[in-house]
Amino acid sequence: MSAWGSGLWPWYVAGPLLGLFVPALLIVDNKLFGFSSNLRHLCSALVPGEVEFFRYDWRKTGLWNLVFMSGTLIGGFLATHGGTPHDVAISMQTRVSLAKLGIHDFTGIAPRELFTWHALLTLRGFVCVVVGGFLVGFGTAYAGGCTSGHAISGLADLQPPSLIAVIGFFAGGVAATYFVLPLLF
């Protein structure tokens, strides 16, 4: 069976491959790997308004990244349509924790109890999709980067601001997991 169709890639393949996007983009044209800038570029392209943060030449600064972003969407499509779909084999402990929370459907890459059009009309679906999305957009813009820009590119260049940001990522994530999610079920 080919590696393509055989499902989950081991961490020692996936991790180094993700890390290689940093040197690849630097070598192609001195670009810094960072995905959340695309949210700013899209705002700048679509609704800049009178906001100074969005008044810049997004084509010059961000067109390469928006093309990369489109590729990411296509890649997600290709990867799910190139092999047999399978469930995410999370640890038994996590299954138990999530079942206690009220998640019972473990099929697919994201729980159907939260991420369907129907679930969007429930409190928990709305909070996870709409509120969660808002916090991702606001937080990455405020912090000036996300997992790629700070956790991978920033740490790789040994930048102290990125370490502070990454500690914040995990503090926020753990807080939402233990204090916000239980309120929704």
Partner: protein, 153 residues
């Protein structure tokens, strides 16, 4: 035809590299999906410290990127367009933007189960409702831009 001629006239689009970015983006989407780092379930496993997998992935990504950047600096490599490779340093300032902004993003990361890259890959991977999360993220970014002069950085 009009579109094609407009595209070839634009100097930034004439750079052959755009196709390279598309291919790199596709590769990124495939890695995110095949490694399951875009899965809400995996993110929960990580934030509950119930598996090492996500830490091994992020850790080995950081080690690989760090070694590559060190090598690029040591060898003073130039980009394919002949420019010296340089990473602009981030300004620390008070550090508030990194601590507070980072924590706010972390809250959203656990709720959506996705950072910005995975949000786009997930829409491609068959979770279309996350397009709403992307729109909401755009609103969040826009509100930040609007509030920016009044926020501590």
């Amino acid at each position: 035809m009009t579109t094609t001629s407009q595209l070839t006239e634009s100097p930034s689009l004439r750079r052959p590299a755009l196709l390279v970015y598309l291919l790199l983006g596709i590769a990124f989407g495939i890695v995110l999906t095949k490694s399951e780092v875009l899965s809400w379930f995996r993110i929960q496993e990580m934030f509950r410290f119930q598996s090492l997998r996500m830490y091994e992935i992020i850790g080995s990504a950081v080690v690989t990127a760090t070694a590559s950047v060190a090598l690029i600096k040591r060898l003073r490599l130039k980009s394919a367009y002949g420019e010296a490779i340089a990473i602009p340093p981030k300004q620390l300032g008070t550090g508030i933007r990194y601590a507070v902004g980072g924590t706010i993003f972390g809250l959203g990361w656990a709720l959506t189960g996705a950072c910005p890259g995975p949000l786009f890959a997930l829409v491609g991977a068959g979770i279309p409702v996350l397009a709403v999360a992307i729109l909401s993220a755009l609103l969040g970014t826009w509100i930040y831009g609007w509030l920016r002069p009044r926020l501590p950085h």
